[in-house]
Symmetry: C2
Subunit: 654 residues, 2 copies
């Protein structure tokens, strides 16, 4: 980087090409956001050409720099540069079919659609926080694998954000955390164009961003978006500060190059219009549609050779390191394979009274002792969430720590967890009270959309929270989590099921898993299905079998015990009742009928029981024993009684 030859003309032509492709793609789609790609084209050129350590021929190279376009609406910025710098996934055809179904150039960058898209962005602020997670992952892996002789993990995380991202609370949370952790290899570019959708930032955003970031413990640098030398110099300065993340504020003009719309909100989020595109092209000297400057193509050809060489050098270093450190290498392989190493789980006896959060802690401890790539923590509820699997926190001074003190920052916690998992090499879990899943929901949605296997440990999962009252008692929360496509919600019925749930969570590599765990003690119950540890992987199994049952109670979580009590009462009255534990309703519903009817016999009355809203159970049950209102403050049992949520009432319904 210190020997960079700045080939200004090439960079200028690259910026010109970014503008040309962005305007045309957006105009052709008749949809999109030209403001950022036009306004930040110069940064794009120098970032992809001179700053990023990457190899477009291998977008998954583990030691590449990460780049996150947090301002995801400016997606054509990313696609143009991926195309120009040689990422094969993004073709000219993709650019010409921007925002069409099947194109890799989706409206907002979608993780998995093309190499070089490091995360899905669009919901503002989250890309920033996800970038913080990537930088944490880098620091953790560097500490673990580098040796005094060889640094095999040594890359930067770059983020490009705009005014919108900086207004969102999630970026504030993540920035405070990043400053606290001293993430020196996180470099954020702030496209400061002073325009948002409503108009000037004078309307709503007049704080002193630079001072705020200094208060978080960041280095703040200032420059112009349109000075290549300066940008490179600032990045050098950012890298020189190894103990703090850096915010590089780049003054810019939104939609730069569109003669009548630049520097106005009109340039932000709608196509420029045919006339303005024509005028812009005339002003910029662009001829034809989807123009690509030959100088840019030639420039990146040369770069590609250089990058490949760098990558090969790294590969050689990596192999030499592997020879010298065979144990580290096998650990590396384990980390990057993302495989789960099964462990001996704690055992329980029937009748033990154990909160499933406590059982979760034991399972987590067992898993984490063997699966060293599992890292995570809680939003300041280490004790209450029962996730103190290690006493060694990740900190400025201890990069080998695996416990993350996220602070009271649920949303950033989840977005950071996405970043850690997206980075590769590590698996993240995070935890808070179930009711505060609402605070992190937007990041959980992105975990699901990106199929990232983040594990969400959500304890205090019902009105049995008790005294803390309705603000802390989930009623609708579990149902709301089950709604999100691709989220696996596991609500174990006792300590034994909890161990199974943790195992299933670790094995689920195809999306996020929620572990819904109880605050209160729950009795470990006998299980009539001798093969329950296998059957439960279908999402459900028979806990209590009856000959020719007339009713099946299907219950989740702490309500399995309630169902067993209700069944006992009902059986005294001559009923014959099956009790089924539904660990995961969505999973069970996806099973073939043969499996489903083996667990819930056909033609029998089905009563579902859960201490929450009925929504979702109606598809499965004839009657639902539920809670359709907010809870109250009182001891857990009193609250349940007050709400009529007792075994007696359930027995009556049966």
């Amino acid at each position: 980087m210190d020997k960079i030859t700045m080939e200004k003309e090439n960079l200028e032509k690259t910026a010109l090409t970014v503008r040309a492709l962005s305007m045309d793609a957006i105009q052709k789609a008749n949809s999109g956001h030209p403001g950022l790609p036009l306004g930040a084209a110069e940064l794009g050129a120098v970032l992809y050409g001179e700053i990023l350590k990457h190899d477009p021929s291998d977008p998954k190279w583990v030691d590449r720099d990460r780049f996150v376009l947090s301002a995801g609406h400016g997606s054509m910025f990313l696609y143009s540069l991926l195309y120009l710098s040689g990422y094969k996934d993004v073709t000219m055809e993709d650019i010409k079919t921007f925002r069409q179904i099947g194109s890799r150039s989706a409206g907002h960058p979608e993780y998995g659609m093309a190499g070089g898209i490091e995360t899905t962005t669009g919901p503002l602020g989250q890309g920033f926080a996800t970038g913080v997670g990537m930088a944490i992952a880098e620091a953790m892996l560097a500490a673990r694998f580098n040796t005094p002789e060889d640094t095999v993990v040594d890359h930067y995380t770059y983020v490009l954000c705009g005014d919108g991202c900086l207004q969102e609370g999630v970026s504030s949370e993540a920035s405070s955390l990043a400053g606290h952790l001293g993430l020196g290899k996180l470099i954020v570019f702030y496209d400061s164009n002073k325009i948002t959708i409503d108009g000037s930032t004078e309307l709503s955003f007049t704080e002193d961003v630079a001072t705020r970031y200094r208060a978080y413990g960041w280095q703040v640098l200032n420059g112009s978006m349109y000075d290549f030398d300066e940008i490179v110099r600032l990045v050098v300065e950012a890298k020189a500060e190894t103990a703090k993340p850096s915010l590089i504020v780049l003054k810019s003009i939104i939609g730069k190059g569109a003669p009548h719309k630049q520097n106005t909100a009109d340039a932000h989020g709608a196509p420029l219009g045919a006339d303005e595109v024509t005028a812009a092209k005339a002003a910029l000297g662009i001829v034809g549609d989807f123009f690509v400057a030959p100088e840019s193509t030639a420039y990146f050809k040369v770069k590609q050779v250089e990058w490949k060489k760098n990558h090969e050098d790294w590969q050689k270093k990596f192999e030499s390191w592997s020879k010298k450190n065979p144990e580290k290498r096998s650990e590396w392989d384990l980390f990057y394979s993302d495989a789960y190493t099964p462990v001996d789980m704690p055992h329980y006896a029937v009748g033990d009274k154990v909160a499933t959060r406590a059982a979760g802690n034991k399972a987590l401890g067992a898993i984490a002792a063997v699966n060293l790539n599992l890292v995570g923590g809680s939003a300041d509820l280490k004790g209450p969430n029962a996730v103190g699997f290690t006493s060694r926190p990740f900190s400025k001074s201890d990069r080998m720590g695996r416990y993350l003190h996220f602070g009271v920052r649920e949303f950033a916690m989840a977005a950071v967890s996405n970043g850690i998992t997206l980075h590769g090499g590590l698996r993240a879990f995070c935890s808070t009270f179930m009711v505060f899943a609402d605070y992190l929901r937007p990041a959980l949605r992105l975990s699901a959309l990106m199929k990232q296997p983040v594990i969400y440990v959500l304890t205090h999962d019902s009105i049995y929270v008790g005294e803390d009252g309705p603000t802390h008692q989930p009623v609708e929360t579990i149902a709301s989590l089950r709604l999100i496509p691709g989220v696996t919600v596991l609500r174990p019925g006792d300590a034994e099921e909890t161990a199974m749930a943790w195992e299933m969570a670790m094995e689920n590599r195809n999306g996020p898993t929620v572990l819904a765990l109880s605050r209160q003690n729950i009795t470990v119950f006998p299980k009539d299905d001798p093969d329950w540890k296998n059957t439960i992987r279908t999402g459900a199994y028979i806990v209590k079998k009856a000959e020719n049952p007339d009713t099946v109670i299907i219950a989740a979580g702490s309500e399995v015990n309630l169902a067993l009590s209700a069944a006992a009462i009902a059986e005294k009255n001559g009923k014959k009742v099956h009790v089924v534990s539904i660990l995961c309703r969505e999973l069970f519903e996806r099973q073939p009928d043969s499996i489903k009817t083996a667990i819930i016999p056909f033609g029998v009355r089905i009563v579902a029981a859960e201490a929450g809203v009925k929504c979702g159970w109606e598809g499965l049950a004839d009657a639902v024993f539920s809670i359709e209102r907010f809870g109250e403050s009182g001891p857990a049992d009193k609250v349940a009684e007050h709400l009529g949520f007792t075994a007696e009432s359930l027995a009556k319904l049966v």
Copy 2:
């Protein structure tokens, strides 16, 4: 305030009593958070005794100062002081039954349980943001009603927050907005005890809070929690700065007075234990249980007379003002009655193609032109959300503005809207894209819990968002909103229904209303029910009637048109199909059977159609035409086609 005689001993005895009551109540409940009430008792004494303008004999006095305990877990702080200062709702019996069902002293302060509880707190950060809303409301009402001669609106909003509140993103968003708006009458006390649940703030929160707040445009003052004179002096200083909100950082000791636990996380959130309570009482010189210092009682007796006198003086001023300003007075009565004045709604012709967001804008414009106490805005989506009902924004320099440029801060927007509505005199609406309801969900939950009639305008309500792709296309979002007890979700089928929906939203004074509106144009359809404008108030009505129907399609929002097309196809194949528009499923489900069967005949096959997950429709329909996956980026119709969500497919299902 400048003539205060500081009666230190009385204040000390009051602080002592706060400690005594808090320890004992928490110990008796065997649950609760002693850390804050013990740590901030001195502030409580001077705040309730010397600082607050209030009259406990009339907790609803409109010109009282507002106090928000943002750190709601410290609820015994509030209850002790309400009790001591003379709020009749909180009795010693309530304190002795802290955290029991039926007690007004719930685990966290619950709005509506007792006078003096200005908002429900507990979910951290939100109280702070709600306080910002109260200060906005004060500024708006002061500008409207005060005259050069008389200031009838002139009160402060005080907030007490801790480290947790300041870590949450929502407080960051709200603080940036408060600084931007120059809310000089907002004064926030920061209980800076450097301890959170996990332990020292050194674990996760080492930023420079004071500098951050200066960057937001706040005045920051520093002092000790245990110096009455200083606190009073700092409040005087805070009031003197009329152009900026003030943050008063008070260094404190969590759990102060508990000899072994103070200044540790152990004091935060669990009873001190019998031994520690005994030790604390011995150290503090407290004798007996639920001790109340007679000096404190006597002190507040005197204060009550003073307060009553102040209140009466205000009442006289108010009456004199009323005489001089009869028009203002009748407007005042209208504002504070919270009544909706019906308006002429815009008319549409069958066949008109209008996005329901655009129809919403027209309805909002008509309503706001007459109902001047309606204020609100959008999280930087004024144009896209179509809520530009006025061009006059509320700002530092124009307090008569009614449009709120919230910035890209959805969560703070909703919490601020709660604050505006809680304040009284005003009604708030707020808006963003439907999918970003996830960002504000925790505040919507509190709107519902507090039964606050905030109106949430959520546009772009389905996959018909189109090109912006899955990050911007709600699929599970509407269902997730319907889950929250007390939230009324209205999803109108065309422009005419939208006008009705806005009217119903204005009339609903018992909780929040969500208006789910379309981005795309929708054809205004003919309505077979001649009385549909009345029938729709049941939540549903028959759009298209068939004689002896064999199928009823129940559909919501833009899917009513889809259902009409599907019915036309099915009828060509000999089917007889009713089409019912479900404006509000929850409302309809609560109707008596007679009404329900008049709209959906008994014994007929019911097919539900909505462009989202099926969850919740299964209880009403035999089959659900739904979307159980995330969407894709493409033109709206292409996306629908790609997902098989077409009239043809629905017709087949019928």
